[in-house]
Structure formats: structure tokens, C-alpha cells
């Protein structure tokens, strides 16, 4: 019985979410649209950090690569938003994989410091418009909205449904990952790399794959983020964003889908709702994070021990 509830609670909540545009105010729709996007990024961070166990403190970079790819292709070259998602995923996955190739040899804290470096370089490159196509500190304005069969999804509700749809797809992929060879290999590497390699696991290959996969999914979220806000600027992909994503996974619960979603609610949705109290926000979160890590190091909603 309990098992049944657990199994159907997630899908039911997602279906319920489809009704949001018809039931809630515009303010709530935009908050939940951003929740869907950030939840996808947090889930992709969880692939690298929570499942494969690599301290990746630069995840906002891949999110940014996706967003910038979409903004450039849409604004400068007039590509439709949905079509830009494919190059956005590929570009982010490539950046993730290529950066990871030399870095995955590093262990724990060393990898963490290296990814912080990556994060800083990305931010600087965007601010200084190093590539000449990213618009410098102001970023790129006027990113369009997605369209389906020639109909532009102009209304906020429609855009929300697109975001919610991506979240649904990513949740499905994460669920599949749990019952698959790939998901297990990531956990073997996290728990004991030496034991895994002596059983024939090519650790380097799978670690790079984890980075590329996490980055690619973050890139897809970047596409919708660019379209949702209509503007892409360096400020959205600063180092503190990476830190927040990192904290979501740790505070919510590593390798736990409900945990990561709960973490996203706490770190992104709650601050939006209590905007008036913005100045106390990081104070409250700072204390909250300390308390959770001390009292419940496995996260607020940890992964369940269960295997079918």
C-alpha cells in the first residue's frame, strides 16, 4: 500500500502541475515555470554530484552554455527556439565532456577547486564578451518564444507547459537511470572506484559521460531559461548559482529525486514567494544549511534503500 502511494505520488503531482496555468495567478505561473527549469538543472547537477559522486562546483556554466547557444542562434540567426535546443544540448555536453576529460582524474576537493576555476573563467569570458557574440555584461536581449506548428506559444501559461514538459521528460530519464546499468555504474564509482575498476568498469569513460550527460541536460534547461526570461546575461550564471545548485543536492538529498526537487523549492521558490524579506534570505538559508548538514547529513529527503 505504502509502496503504491510512493509510486503514484510523483506522476500524480506532475499531472496536477499541468493544471497550473488554468488555476493560478500569473505570478505563480512564472514562479513555477522557473521552478521547473531550475529543477531540471538541479537534477542534472545530481547526476554528477549525487550519483557519480564528483564535486562539480561549476554546473551553472553548462546551464549558461545552453542559454547562450539558444540566445545567439535565435536572436542573431533567427532559429526557432525548439530547434536551438539541440545545439544547446550538444554544446553544453561537449563543454562538460571536454572540461571533464582532464579534470576527472582529480579527486574530491581538488576537482571542486578546478571546477570553481572553470566557473570563474566562464563568467569573465561572458562579461568581457571574449567570443564577440555574447553581448558582454548586458548579455543578449530579445530571445523569442517557442512555437509549435507555426503557432507562437506567447502566453505565459503555454511557456510554463513547455517547461513543465521538459521537467517531466527529465524526471522520466532519472527514474530510468535508477534501474539501469548506467545508474549503477555511477554509484559504484562514487562508493569505491578501485573496486569498480577491478570489476571491469572504465572509470574515466563513465566519469566523463556523467559530466557530459549532466551538462547536456543543464543545456536543455538553458534553452528554456533564455526563452522564459527573453534575456541572457552573465549574472544568471555566476559562481554563486553553481554553489546554490551544489547546495540543493546536498541539502535535499543526494541521488534522491524528491530530495532534489524539495531542495529546489527551498532554494528557488521560497525566496521568490517571500520577496519582501529578500534581505534576510541568505541569512535564513545559511542557518538552514548549517542545521541540515549537522543534524541530517544525508539530506532532508534522502534516497530510499530499496531495490526491486
Amino acid at each position: 500500500m505504502k509502496e503504491q502511494i510512493y509510486r503514484w505520488a510523483g506522476p500524480s503531482l506532475w499531472v496536477l502541475g499541468l493544471g497550473v496555468p488554468f488555476a493560478l495567478s500569473a505570478n505563480w505561473i512564472s514562479i513555477l515555470a522557473l521552478f521547473a527549469i531550475y529543477a531540471v538543472v538541479a537534477l542534472s547537477q545530481d547526476i554528477v554530484l549525487g550519483r557519480a559522486g564528483m564535486f562539480d562546483m561549476g554546473h551553472a556554466v553548462y546551464f549558461g552554455v545552453g542559454a547562450y547557444t539558444t540566445a545567439i542562434l535565435n536572436v542573431t540567426y533567427g532559429w526557432p527556439i525548439f530547434w536551438t535546443m539541440i545545439p544547446a544540448i550538444i554544446a553544453a555536453a561537449l563543454v562538460g565532456g571536454i572540461l571533464a576529460a582532464p579534470l576527472v582524474k582529480l579527486r574530491g576537493d581538488y576537482l571542486l577547486v578546478a571546477t570553481i576555476g572553470v566557473s570563474q573563467i566562464f563568467h569573465l569570458a561572458m562579461v568581457n564578451n571574449t567570443a564577440g557574440v555574447t553581448g558582454g555584461p548586458d548579455g543578449i536581449f530579445g530571445v523569442g518564444v517557442p512555437s509549435i506548428f507555426g503557432h507562437q506559444l506567447i502566453s505565459q501559461g503555454n511557456e510554463y507547459l513547455v517547461d513543465w514538459g521538459l521537467l517531466g521528460i527529465v524526471l522520466l530519464l532519472m527514474k530510468n537511470l535508477e534501474h539501469s546499468r548506467l545508474g549503477r555504474v555511477f554509484r559504484y564509482l562514487k562508493e569505491d572506484e578501485l573496486a569498480a575498476t577491478t570489476l571491469g568498469v572504465n572509470a574515466r569513460y563513465y566519469k566523463i559521460l556523467a559530466f557530459a550527460l549532466g551538462a547536456g541536460i543543464a543545456g536543455a534547461a538553458g534553452t528554456l531559461f533564455a526563452s522564459q526570461l527573453a534575456v541572457v546575461s552573465p549574472g544568471a550564471f555566476v559562481f554563486t548559482e553553481s554553489v546554490t545548485l551544489f547546495a540543493i543536492v546536498l541539502v535535499g538529498g543526494q541521488a534522491s529525486i524528491p530530495g532534489v526537487l524539495l531542495g529546489t523549492v527551498l532554494m528557488f521558490v521560497v525566496p521568490q514567494v517571500f520577496r519582501e524579506l529578500a534581505q534576510y534570505r541568505y541569512f535564513a538559508f545559511g542557518i538552514g544549511m548549517i542545521v541540515v548538514m549537522v543534524v541530517r547529513p544525508q539530506g532532508i529527503w534522502p534516497r530510499r534503500r530499496r531495490m526491486g
Binding site: R181, R184, L199
Partner: protein, 266 residues
């Protein structure tokens, strides 16, 4: 396959193998061979270099000299995962199970090399992938059954008693279908009954066609199950032969019990 057929001579051969860590010569001029179908014991006093030898064979350390030949092919420079792909699988002196995962999930790790699903099939949960997952579970449950572990299949592996954890690690290694099974002190921490069971299990594994190389301190195990023993001390081989002849070798007795001179010094 043709390579397998044409291969004669020992399965594994160490040829003048040596390794140095900085100024320390941990293993020096080591030669020995493991014949197919044999159970070979590698023994020696603490710190003699036994685990270092295992680490070199399995690719964890790279030997600084000599060659490690697997079916006449030098595998000394291969990374551990490629050594495993050759069919050389090992257990560890200190049990290395994946904590936070069930016994079944641990044993599934052994089947990694037998699993075919591509990473995208894992993500998309294709029908072929689901079929493979079901088959994998069945095969692993059969292995667990054989080692009397079926009851604990869904228990978290590292919460089990020590002796059971040893069996889980063995099950995981067997799940990888080894041709050569390397056991690093499989009887360590076992009680008398468990160690007697281990003797039987080791023989059964050999009878199923697996060649075995083991390090063990428990002389009861070593003398009972091995066909051949290699004795090393200070990284060098001091004796080799059948269990009985090795047992009576004066150099071996000296290495284990110390010579008269040592006693004088003490």
C-alpha cells in the same frame, strides 16, 4: 577463440617481475607461473610483498621491471579495467563492498562486463534494456543462491556480519565470470566453521573451471586446498612447490619462525 585454442603453457606467468616505491624494493626478481585449473597459494610473512604482487597482476600498480604474461601476452602496463576484461578478477584483503547498496546491487556490479546495454538504452529504458535487467537479476540471484546468500539479497551489503560480507564479495567477483580468480586473504576474520566452508567453496569454484591464485595466512586453508605454493619473503621468492615439500623447506621455516641468529639478537 583460436587464440585460446593455440595457447599452451601456463595461464599466468610472472617473469623477473620487480617494483620499487621510491628507494624501497617491494618485490624483486619474482618468477612463478599459474597453470590452468590449479589452485596456487602465495604465502610469506607480513610485509613480504604478497598484496603488492596482486596489485601488479591486476594493474593497480605497474611493475618497474619484468613482464606479467597472461596467455603469453604482456599485461603489465594495462589499467585495472582492461586486466579485468582479460578474465582476471580479484577480491580484497579489506573487503571493498559498495556501501549503501544491497547485496544484489553489489553482485550486479560483477556482471558489468557481461552487460550490453548502451548508456542511452539505460536512460530510455528500451524493451531490450528491461529484458537484460531481468536476465541480469536472475543470473545474480542464481549466484547468490549458490553461495547461500539469497536470503540477504535485498539487505544493505555493509550491514551484514563480516563473514557474510566476505561471501558477498566472492559472489560479486564470481559474477564477473573470472578465468583466474585472485583471492587476497579470503579466510581473514572468518571463524573455524566459515573457514572450513571456504575450503569447500574454493574447491568447488576450481572444479567449475576457474583457476585460483590466493594469498592466505590461515595454514589450514593453504595446506588443504592448494596444488602448489609459492613462498616469498622481502619481495623475493624463497621456495616453490607442492604444499608438503614447502612446509618442510628449511628456508620457509626460517622465514616464518626466525633463525637461531634472530633469536640471539632478540
Amino acid at each position: 577463440m583460436s587464440q585460446e585454442m593455440s595457447h599452451t603453457g601456463p595461464l599466468l606467468k610472472l617473469d623477473n617481475v620487480g617494483i620499487s616505491f621510491g628507494g624501497l624494493r617491494a618485490v624483486d626478481q619474482l618468477d612463478f607461473a599459474v597453470e590452468k585449473g590449479h589452485i596456487v597459494g602465495l604465502i610469506g610473512p607480513n610485509g613480504a610483498g604478497k598484496t603488492t604482487v596482486f596489485n601488479m597482476i591486476t594493474g593497480v600498480y605497474k611493475p618497474t621491471d619484468g613482464a606479467i604474461l597472461w596467455k603469453d601476452r604482456d599485461i603489465g602496463a594495462l589499467p585495472p579495467y582492461k586486466v579485468a576484461q582479460c578474465g582476471i578478477l580479484r577480491t580484497f584483503q579489506t573487503i571493498r563492498l559498495f556501501s549503501g547498496m544491497t547485496v544484489l546491487e553489489n553482485v550486479l556490479a560483477g556482471q558489468h562486463m557481461q552487460t550490453r546495454q548502451a548508456w542511452w538504452a539505460s536512460l530510455l529504458s528500451t524493451p531490450g534494456q528491461r529484458r537484460e535487467e531481468r536476465d541480469l537479476r536472475e543470473r545474480c540471484m542464481a549466484i547468490l543462491d549458490r553461495l547461500n546468500l539469497a536470503d540477504v539479497a535485498h539487505e544493505p551489503a555493509t550491514s551484514l556480519p563480516y563473514g557474510v560480507q566476505r561471501r558477498v564479495e566472492l559472489a560479486r567477483t564470481l559474477a564477473a565470470s573470472p578465468e583466474l580468480l585472485i583471492l587476497d586473504e579470503p579466510a581473514a576474520g572468518l571463524n573455524d566453521q566459515e573457514s572450513a566452508e571456504l575450503n569447500t567453496q574454493i574447491r568447488e569454484i576450481r572444479d567449475s573451471g576457474v583457476t585460483i591464485l590466493l594469498v592466505e595466512h590461515d595454514m589450514n586453508v593453504v595446506m588443504n586446498v592448494t596444488d602448489r605454493i609459492v613462498v616469498i619473503n622481502f619481495g623475493r621468492k624463497i621456495a616453490e612447490g607442492e604444499p608438503l615439500s614447502v612446509r618442510n623447506d628449511p628456508q620457509v621455516i626460517e622465514a616464518y619462525l626466525g633463525s637461531d641468529e634472530d633469536e640471539d639478537v632478540a
